[in-house]
């Protein structure tokens, strides 16, 4: 075993400049995915944290003996909300809510630091200031909160709330100040889960691509090892070891990347507030889980990618026509889509998440099949050499072509889904501040999710483009020696990406819109269409730019006058 490990390490180190470049690409790919995965995980913890910290303001009627009365309403300072909690103690000794060391008695108030620092609010909540609300009792930094003490009979703690249900709660007799997360907080957690699904699925696809990137580079070498008699087990062990080592380095780098990104991330405003640094830090256990899961997944993905080498050493060495993919893939997608119209607002979160996730994964399954079909059509109808090369390449390896565009295509799904759900900016909400926030938050969330998806998509297409140049460097170099213009090779590479991108991007957007249809009550809005349009433009530009970045690499691998196979 230790011999195997030593050999693996040798292979890893001895790959030469190109091999090193390949490993670096894998590390970067894994680092970006890990950072974004951490973000997707953190988002859920962050909203959960907000829900918990704000729970005490939302009274739950006492089942047994009531020990206090609590009421809530939202005041405004211009557009800024001020949370006012009126409390009256019925039985002395009741524990204060989180963030407070003691309850204000009649004539006393406790306020948040931000409220204390706001000169315009001086005197709005009269009384002796007896405490400052700590961070653990605030939904977000800078929140304006006042807890006002009353005698049990006061109007503030006996009146019924008659305004918007999102802006206040009637006085309620409570047993303690534990409270329950508001319905809004629960809704946001639901949205956070959907956003996570949208971010995690492309990340998984991307992570798999990164893993296969290591494998692709080693394919030939490992096939030769098989030819000289290494057992399948040994080959698998070496590949997994290599992939896992590389992926772990990438995951650690990703954690560092994420840590650097936390300060700017905390500044994203949702529900009119930013975030505590601790909100973006999901905790030691989830982070350890991610750092462990990423290398494991990459290793697993590497094994799957290696199956062909292990089964037949000649499979890779001789490059036979790959087995065709079956139509069943399309049937799976259609079956899942058939479920969509049955969904509606009443369906539980879990079901929606599962259906969306499955549609997403099925799209990923269908991708290579469609790319293969497109390739055959392209090759058959090609007149010039670039188109012919592109078409044949798509037929030859539809999976790798799909990998280059899958990110953007899958983001097209998200964009289609969101595009249909984006509320119009000119929706007349009048003085309904609560609705205005919700709409604003949906827009912010949309932008964040799309930004993440596009980042994944573009990084992944750039990395796959670079790795495909590396994988084919010998052929490219020899073609170039024989006088093929770089321009032709470049055009072929571009077509190889653009043709499937157009078809699959369009298909994914349509699928996304179809999945969103049951939830789209507002109809297609100008804002949604604009979001969609910007997405499509950004996606295409990004993929083309990312591909263009590997052009110098193509130039460098083709200028070596004496290319040798490794």
């Amino acid at each position: 075993m230790s011999n195997l490990l030593r050999l693996t390490w040798r292979l890893l180190k001895g790959g030469g400049r190109q091999g090193l470049l390949g490993s670096s690409l894998t590390i970067v790919a894994v680092a970006v995915s890990t950072a974004l995965l951490l973000f997707a995980v953190a988002v859920n913890f962050a909203f959960a944290g907000r829900a918990d910290r704000g729970a005490w303001r939302h009274p739950v009627p006492a089942k047994g003996e009531a020990r206090a009365v609590e009421a809530l309403h939202i005041d405004f300072l211009g557009d800024r909300p001020i949370t006012v909690v009126d409390v009256a103690v019925l039985e002395p000794g009741v524990a204060p809510p989180r963030g407070l060391s003691r309850l204000p008695m009649p004539g006393e108030v406790a306020i948040s630091p931000a409220l204390a620092g706001e000169p315009a609010l001086r005197g709005r909540y009269p009384g002796k200031i007896v405490g400052t609300i700590g961070d653990e009792g605030l939904v977000h930094p800078g929140e304006l909160v006042a807890v006002v003490g009353h005698a049990p009979g006061d109007a503030a703690v006996s009146a019924k709330w008659k305004g918007d249900y999102r802006l206040g709660q009637s006085a309620t007799k409570v047993a303690d100040f534990t409270g329950a997360p508001s319905s809004d907080a629960v809704a946001y957690r639901f949205l956070a889960i959907i956003a996570s699904v949208f971010m995690v699925v492309p990340l998984l696809v991307f992570g798999g691509a990164a893993a296969r990137l290591t494998v692709a580079r080693r394919d030939r070498r490992l096939a030769s090892l098989r030819l000289v008699g290494a057992t399948p087990g040994q080959v698998v062990a070496m590949t997994v070891a290599e992939a896992v080592i590389t992926a772990f380095a990438g995951a650690v780098l990703g954690l560092a990347l994420y840590a650097v990104a936390i300060p700017p991330l905390t500044q994203v405003e949702i529900t009119g507030g930013t975030w505590f640094t601790s909100d973006m830090w999901p905790g030691v256990l989830p982070i350890a889980a991610v750092l462990l899961a990423v290398p494991l997944l990459v290793g697993l993905s590497a094994v799957v990618g290696l199956r062909r080498v292990v089964v037949s050493p000649l499979g890779v060495a001789r490059r036979e026509t790959p087995p065709g993919m079956r139509f069943i893939r399309v049937v799976v997608l259609l079956a899942i889509l058939a479920v969509v119209p049955a969904m509606g607002m009443g369906v539980s979160v879990g079901v929606v998440a599962v259906v969306l996730g499955s549609a997403f994964l099925a799209l990923n399954l269908v991708g290579p099949w469609v790319v293969g079909v497109i390739g055959r059509v392209t090759a058959r109808t090609a007149r010039g050499p670039a188109r012919l090369l592109a078409g044949r390449r798509l037929v030859d390896d539809p999976r790798s072509a799909w990998r280059t565009v899958s990110g953007v295509a899958l983001t097209g799904f998200v964009a289609g889904f969101i595009g249909l759900l984006t509320p119009p900016t000119d929706l007349d909400v009048g003085s309904d501040k609560a609705t205005a926030w919700l709409l604003q938050d949906i827009r912010t969330g949309t932008v964040v999710v799309l930004a993440v998806s596009f980042l994944v998509a573009i990084v992944s297409s750039g990395i796959t483009a670079a790795s495909s140049v590396l994988d084919r460097r010998q052929t490219y170099a020899l073609l170039r020696l024989a006088g093929t213009d770089l321009a032709v090779l470049d055009k072929a590479r571009r077509l190889e990406t653009l043709i499937p991108l157009v078809v699959m991007g369009g298909g994914s957007i349509a699928t996304g819109m179809f999945c969103a249809a049951p939830f789209a009550r507002l109809g297609v809005s100008a804002a949604g269409a604009l979001t969609l349009l910007i997405c499509v433009a950004a996606g295409f530009a990004g993929v083309i730019a990312a591909g263009a970045l590997s052009r110098p690499l193509l130039r460098s691998v083709t200028t070596d006058p004496a290319p040798r196979p490794d």
């Binding site: 001789r318 490059r319 036979e320 026509t321 090609a382 007149r383 010039g384 050499p385 012919l388 090369l389 044949r392 390449r393 037929v395 030859d396 390896d397 010998q474 052929t475 020899l478 073609l479 170039r480 020696l481 024989a482 006088g483 093929t484 213009d485 032709v488 006058p561 004496a562 290319p563 196979p565």
Partner: protein
């Protein structure tokens, strides 16, 4: 003697401290086959690359049909390689995802020949090279020798003036290597193309019109090796029937080169 097609004058090339070419004069006549021999690292490949416009010599000149080519820009040299030269490398020059006929047609398509015509022209090479029925196979489905014959067809498809081959049979067993080399020498000769071939095999070198020995970046002077070769004809006519039975010399002229003066001419004098 006959017309000079390619000429290198006092070619010098160094890689850092390593002197790969230390002043080489080299002439290729029309239709002639020249073998370059010499130990590994002696500068054979470098010489080939300089002559073929792949690499620029540090000093010296390269002329193709009287025109100086080493000073041309990369774009022009690239076009020259595509149109006037053909290349056969040790292996790996075929695109794995293209079927054999499209691999041969590719250089024609790069020269703006319409696809259908290019493929038709390409296929006309398969029969004469003993590749009938292999048109639709991909390189991974061909044996090493077959793949090299496809590569030969590709090198000749554009009707080049000179074919360069760098150890084209280095990856083949000896018998297959000899078959392949015979085909290469004969096919270039019949198409009136010149051949510059790097080889380690003295047997192979004998079929060429001339052998040039390279040592430490210089050409060894001495009597040119011509013993086994009749200047313009086939080296050893009997060999074809014994070793390469598939290639009998009764070559059906490819339908293609109607207008080309340098067609594949069945030679009357042969057998």
């Amino acid at each position: 003697m006959s017309q000079i097609v390619l000429e290198g004058r006092d070619l010098k090339k160094s890689f850092g401290p390593t002197v790969a070419l230390a002043g080489v004069d080299f002439v290729v006549h029309r239709g002639e086959a020249v073998a370059i021999m010499g130990p590994s690292g002696s500068g054979k490949s470098t010489l080939l690359h300089c002559l073929a416009g792949i690499m620029r010599p540090d000093s010296g000149e390269v002329h193709l049909l009287g025109q100086r080519i080493d000073t041309l820009g990369e774009r022009k040299r690239s076009a020259l390689r595509r149109t006037r030269f053909g290349f056969v490398f040790q292996f790996g020059q075929l695109l794995p995802e293209l079927p054999a006929d499209e691999n041969v047609a590719l250089p024609l398509m790069l020269g703006d020949v319409p696809r259908a015509q290019a493929v038709q022209q390409a296929r006309s090479w398969f029969g004469p090279l003993g590749l009938a029925g292999m048109e639709g196979r991909r390189p991974g489905e061909l044996s090493g020798g077959q793949a090299q014959r496809v590569a030969i067809a590709r090198a000749l498809a554009t009707r080049p003036a000179v074919v360069f081959a760098d150890e084209p049979t280095g990856a083949l067993d000896q018998a297959t290597g000899h078959d392949t080399m015979r085909l290469l020498v004969d096919a270039t000769r019949r198409n009136d193309a010149s051949l510059v071939v790097v080889t380690h095999d003295p047997e192979v070198a004998r079929w060429c019109d001339r052998v040039v020995e390279v040592r430490d970046g210089r050409i060894l002077t001495g009597p040119p090796h011509t013993g086994y070769v009749t200047p313009a004809g086939l080296p050893n006519a009997g060999y074809a029937t014994t070793v390469a039975p598939s290639y009998t010399g009764h070559v059906p002229a490819p339908q293609v080169p109607q207008e080309s003066p340098r067609g594949w001419r069945p030679e009357a004098g042969e057998r």
